[in-house]
Symmetry: C2
Subunit: 117 residues, 2 copies
């Protein structure tokens, strides 16, 4: 064992309208706004819009990462936020990030797991 416990990782599955699940630009705006509000630090990102609908995206943060994968044909997405506590405790920010995104997507959480890593 290392003696270092990285931090909180929340894994969600949520349902939302097809428009939200098909709009990576709107998702990027929402994530960027939350990243700014929470004073997190983005170091790169990938948003990939599938020709057949839906998108997959990862945002790399100095604090760890955010990911989202959507299936508009099923009305669902998986969404993760993991922030390490390397320089300060970011536990509360993980919860705030998830809550803000779910509100922004006007989504309903189907399942949520909080994993302390």
């Amino acid at each position: 064992m290392s003696g270092y416990n990285p931090g909180l990782h929340i894994l969600c599955t949520f349902s939302a309208g097809g428009t939200v699940l098909n709009d990576p630009q709107a998702c990027a705006r929402a994530f960027d706004s939350i990243i700014s509000d929470l004073a997190l630090h983005k170091v790169g990102e990938v948003y990939h819009h599938f020709p057949g609908g839906g998108f997959t995206a990862v945002v790399c943060l100095t604090e760890s990462h955010v990911s989202i994968h959507t299936w508009p044909e099923f009305g669902v997405a998986t969404f993760d936020v993991f922030l390490s506590n390397f320089e300060k405790d970011n536990t509360e920010k993980v919860k705030l990030f998830v809550d803000s995104a779910i509100r922004s997507f006007d989504a309903t959480i189907i399942s949520k797991q909080e994993i302390t890593r």
Copy 2:
């Protein structure tokens, strides 16, 4: 509920030597090799090497994502592989990806959780 169950997500924490935990290029080569071997499809990636040591990376796949965050000062990393079963069952590939990466890093698993999403 949506009736759609995306797939298997494995979350690991592992210990490894400081050289491995400080070499994002070697990590990228290992990941690219596994992605090729498993016939997965990369649509983008971010590798960020911290000036003080360690790196953080996310690889975006059409099948979902891979992430790794390293803390060489503690000798540990967190490592996730999540592949959806959208067009075919990728469950076995998630396990193969993790096993191959752990072997490639000459790492020892500290904890591993398999989450069926």
